[in-house]
């Protein structure tokens, strides 16, 4: 069954399946129904951590160091507990700043430093490419082994020509996959949903395959764990396998735990999956326990398979790294062996794909693009559409990384440098830890400190770990390892400065971290940050405070034109993507189209962020500065911004109090304003009514004047009738004007009030005399019922006369001629004096009894004849009386006449005092 063709077909069928899944994932993403937007896929995709180094290598390590393989998985489990603080922050920062790789992250934190971005990229490539080679090697050797079935001993492979090498074919397919699903188009978020879906699927396959082999060994070959371990007791060094101390020291155990804690975040592929491909920050929660659970599940059977293999192949002829394959093969389990091979293949391909995407993004954005942009001869910055360039570079970088891996695999072969690369790789990326973790929790870290620390750590790592591994592979003279550089014993790479007693990993970690952290902190504290560094540091460390703001906009001053910015975005994103991104941003701002956008600082940083997605933060900054006439902020200015805000907090309390006071004042003002508005409205109404009242007599006067002018032939009777109307209406107009002025005078408080002794009875008689003409004209009867003597009051005689005349003439007006009777009465009550004027006219409707005292309101429709009047009389009367602290009211039953009454206080009071202009 396990002929070459079958294995090859199975391999390619499996890769085909990956293509299908990734394709489906991308389709779903395009239609907006994301396949990967759930925490389970996220947790599974994180398991890209488990490579062939886990799948095959863990068993190998277990066979030599027993449980010493476990720290690699315990470290991540512990670290995940801290992700709530660390990873959540990294994700938040990355989303806010459109970070696309770990190099981008570090470069961005330290003032968008291209140098730092490039350095991180180089270290990552050097540290990680061999790791890719290791995966290819695992695929290659497992393939070779499998097709030799039933033999389980790998023959020393007769060298395969490059062209006939299945591994190359697989590498090429993986490159194609990576280009297709990782660099098909430029995406500002740099997320690849299809790829993530495929990776999650691979995680399931490798887990199932490994557990299947584990169950086969534990329960198929033996009768469970205890049976397996009791058989294992016959092994010569069994006790060393199940305890710590002989195979591995506690110190090495602890340092490996620490190392893997860092690696789970810092390996480019982990950063890619955990941060860049993260769909939703909330997915981190489930991953916090699901991912460790995955690690536990894939490790339960490692030791059983290892001891099973050691029992079964006691002579050591079979490499322990291959037990996962060779145990099923030795027991003729062909299907299981093929499944195990596919599991190993999935572990390898998953790692290779993600690592290649991550590295190629870094190489393109942080290494190649910045360099190309600097070469003026290429005039790249002036090109109209750079999206083609970017994609080409990205794709070329993928092929380059993949070929580099393959070449290293072909060259290194079985060399120590390749076999031990797992931990060496971990130690390389661990050099990012101080500047990354320091960068998100410590604001003072400077660019210079970061570069110095990283460079020192990298050099120490190279000297104490990388070069010795080359030496052990025979690529360098071994003498330098045994005697030290230039035969100086203190410079022995793995006993640096005479330090002995540590394993090589712990040794490297100690020295590299000492120099790395020491220089980073030391130089940061000695030097000063530039404004740009300071602003980025604040953005990163305070990300949870700032994420609602447009990042960076606070610290940008600059001027640019909208067409320039748009053209820039078009160059790097391509026209249609730029159009969409700008339109989306305009919509977010509540504008109809991007034409309405203002090229302000917020837009500049938005464009910078868009470009950061395509070409990395550092390059984006350079490119954007080329169109933005940026006025750089110096540190002093930034500090003053920061200080202003901290002062603002200090005065917050005072401010709050002030604002409360302000609120009260505002409320008062609003109320006052309302009152003013109301007064204004009343004034408007008043003017409108007055003009209306003026227009009415004026209309008659004008009409009749014109009639008289135009009709000279009118007979004398009609002529005098019309002239009479004109005169009457003129009088009405005069009266109206006087009364309006009078009312206005009283109302404004400018009226002059006299204060004198008034005998009301005498005044009433006078008033009746004055109005006698009206009553005799209509043949009305007037009677006055006045007591013999009345106490006098203090008031303005003329004003009171005005009131009496008004009431009497009103009464006269409303009485029927001939039968009308008007009665005037005067009564002295406890301390008031009360005057009544009663008529037997038609009376006043109930609903009109209050409105008649308002200006220009007349009791209307119950009267057949409209009364002659201005509508101001009663209103003025009431105001006069209230000035003397008196009252005016009416009592009437419609049809039975009306009685108007007013009352005034007796002389004891001093009415003058309430008057603003009293004597």
């Amino acid at each position: 069954m396990l002929q070459t063709t079958v294995v090859v077909l199975a391999s390619f069928a499996y890769l085909g399946l990956l293509f299908a899944i990734a394709f489906y994932g991308d389709k779903r993403a395009e239609s907006g129904r994301s396949l990967i937007a759930n925490p389970y896929i996220y947790s599974l995709s994180l398991a890209v951590y488990c490579t062939t180094w886990t799948f095959y290598g863990s068993v190998g390590r277990a066979a030599s160091t027993g449980i010493g393989f476990l720290p690699i998985y315990l470290g991540p489990t512990l670290m995940v507990a801290l992700w709530w603080f660390v990873m959540r922050k990294i994700i938040r920062i990355s989303k806010a700043n459109r970070i696309t790789s770990i190099a981008d992250f570090i470069a961005s934190r330290y003032g968008k430093s291209q140098l730092l971005g490039g350095l991180v990229t180089i270290i990552a490539v050097i540290g990680v490419v061999p790791y890719i080679a290791l995966q290819l090697k695992a695929v290659s050797s497992s393939f070779t082994l499998l097709v030799q079935y039933p033999s389980v001993v790998a023959e020393k492979a007769s060298s395969v020509p490059v062209l006939g090498d299945t591994t190359l074919a697989i590498a090429i397919m993986l490159a194609a996959f990576t280009i297709f699903f990782g660099a098909r188009q430029l995406d500002v978020t740099e997320r690849h949903e299809g790829m993530v879906a495929a990776i999650a699927f691979e995680s399931v396959v490798k887990l199932l395959a490994f557990i299947a082999v584990g169950i086969f060994v534990t329960y198929g070959l033996y009768d469970g764990f205890s049976d397996l371990f009791s058989h294992a007791r016959q092994l010569p060094d069994f006790n060393a396998l199940i305890t710590l101390g002989s195979g591995m020291s506690y110190g090495a155990w602890a340092s490996l735990t620490c190392l893997s804690m860092l690696s789970i975040m810092l390996l480019p592929r982990q950063f890619q999956i955990a941060v860049v491909e993260n769909v939703n920050e909330a997915h981190l929660r489930k991953a916090t326990w699901l991912f460790p659970l995955y690690l536990l599940a894939i490790n339960v059977f490692v030791l059983p398979i290892a001891v099973g293999g050691m029992i079964h192949f006691p002579d050591g002829s079979v490499d322990a790294d291959t037990f996962v394959l060779t145990l099923p093969m030795a027991h003729q389990q062909q299907a299981l062996a093929l499944f195990a091979f596919i599991g190993g293949l999935s572990a390898a391909t998953g790692m290779v794909i993600v690592e290649t995407i991550a590295l190629s993004t870094m190489v393109c954005n942080d290494l190649v693009m910045p360099l190309l942009l600097r070469i003026r001869r290429l005039r790249l910055a002036e090109q109209n559409d750079l999206s083609f360039w970017l994609l080409s570079i990205r794709r070329a970088a993928i092929v380059f990384v993949m070929l580099l891996g393959y070449a290293y695999f072909r060259l290194a072969g079985e060399a120590y440098a390749l076999v031990s690369i797992g931990l060496i790789s971990f130690a390389a990326v661990a050099q990012f830890a101080p500047i990354l973790l320091g960068g998100i929790f410590w604001k003072e870290g400077t660019r210079a400190g970061a570069i110095a620390g990283l460079l020192a750590g990298f050099l120490v790592w190279s000297y104490t770990l990388l070069l010795p591994s080359f030496a052990k592979s025979g690529w360098l003279a071994i003498g330098f390892l045994e005697n030290g550089l230039w035969d100086i014993a203190l410079l022995k790479p793995q006993e640096l400065f005479g330090l002995t007693g540590l394993d090589e990993i712990s040794h490297c970690m100690f020295w590299s971290m000492l120099f790395n952290v020491g220089l980073y902190i030391g130089i940061s504290l000695v030097g000063r940050q530039s404004a740009a560094e300071h602003s980025q540091a604040t953005l990163f460390v305070d990300v949870f405070k700032n994420t609602v703001d447009a990042p960076g906009s606070r610290f940008w001053r600059g001027s640019a034109s909208l067409p320039e910015l748009f053209a820039l975005a078009q160059r790097f994103l391509g026209p249609s993507r730029a159009e969409r991104a700008f339109a989306a941003y305009a919509r977010k701002r509540g504008l109809k189209s991007h034409q309405e956008l203002k090229p302000d600082a917020a837009l500049v940083s938005q464009v910078e962020m868009l470009l950061a997605g395509a070409i990395g933060a550092a390059s984006a900054r350079v490119v954007v500065s080329s169109v933005v006439k940026e006025e750089p902020l110096d540190l002093q200015e930034v500090m003053s911004i920061v200080e202003e805000s901290s002062q603002a907090i200090a005065y917050g309390r005072k401010l709050e109090q002030k604002s409360r006071e302000l609120e009260t004042a505002t409320a008062n003002l609003t109320a006052a304003n309302e009152r003013l508005k109301e007064l204004d409205r009343l004034k408007d109404d008043f003017i409108s009514t007055v003009t209306h009242e003026l227009r009415t007599p004026l209309t008659s006067i004008r009409a009749f004047s014109e009639i008289l002018r135009d009709n000279p032939a009118l007979d004398i009777a009609e002529r005098s009738r019309f002239l009479g109307i004109v005169v009457k209406e003129s009088e009405r107009l005069t009266r109206l004007i006087n009364q309006v002025l009078d009312a206005a005078k009283i109302e404004s408080g400018n009226a002059e009030w006299k204060s004198e002794r008034v005998d009301l009875a005498e005044l009433i008689e006078e008033a009746i005399l004055a109005t006698a003409q009206v009553f005799t004209d209509k043949n009305l009867r007037v009677s006055a019922d006045l007591p013999a003597s009345t106490p006098s009051i203090t008031a303005d005689r003329d004003r009171l006369m005005q009131v009496l005349l008004n009431l009497l003439s009103n009464a006269g007006k409303f009485c029927q001629p001939d039968t009308g009777v008007v009665e005037v009465s005067l009564k002295v009550e406890l301390n008031t004096i009360c005057v009544g004027v009663r008529d037997n006219g038609l009376g006043i409707a109930i609903e009109d009894q209050t409105v008649i005292f308002e200006k220009f309101r007349q009791g209307g429709d119950t009267l057949t004849d409209k009364p002659q009047g201005t509508g101001l009389g009663l209103s003025i009367c009431r105001q006069i009386l209230s000035h003397f602290e008196g009252k005016l009211w009416v009592e009437s039953v419609p049809g039975h006449g009306a009685a108007f009454f007013f009352s005034l206080p007796l002389a004891a009071g001093e009415p003058g005092k309430s008057s603003p202009v009293g004597e």
């Binding site: 199940i242 305890t243 489930k286």
Partner: protein, 64 residues
């Protein structure tokens, strides 16, 4: 549960894990004995590991 409380519990879980997986606590179980025929250290590490995962799951899944 307040986020800060959740964070503190996770830190406690982390510290517990560090303690349980390292010298000297680890040394207490570092001997050749067995539990139901399975090596002591193997049982101990996987047991604590599982416990840690359960604890983290409880902390993280506890409703706000």
């Amino acid at each position: 549960m307040k986020p800060s409380v959740r964070g503190q519990r996770l830190i406690a879980a982390f510290l517990f894990g560090c303690l349980a997986f390292d010298y000297p606590i680890l040394a207490l179980f570092n001997h050749e004995g067995t539990v139901y025929g399975i090596p002591m250290l193997f049982v101990y590490i996987f047991g604590v590991w599982l416990l840690l995962i359960v604890v983290m799951a409880i902390i993280i899944e506890m409703p706000d």
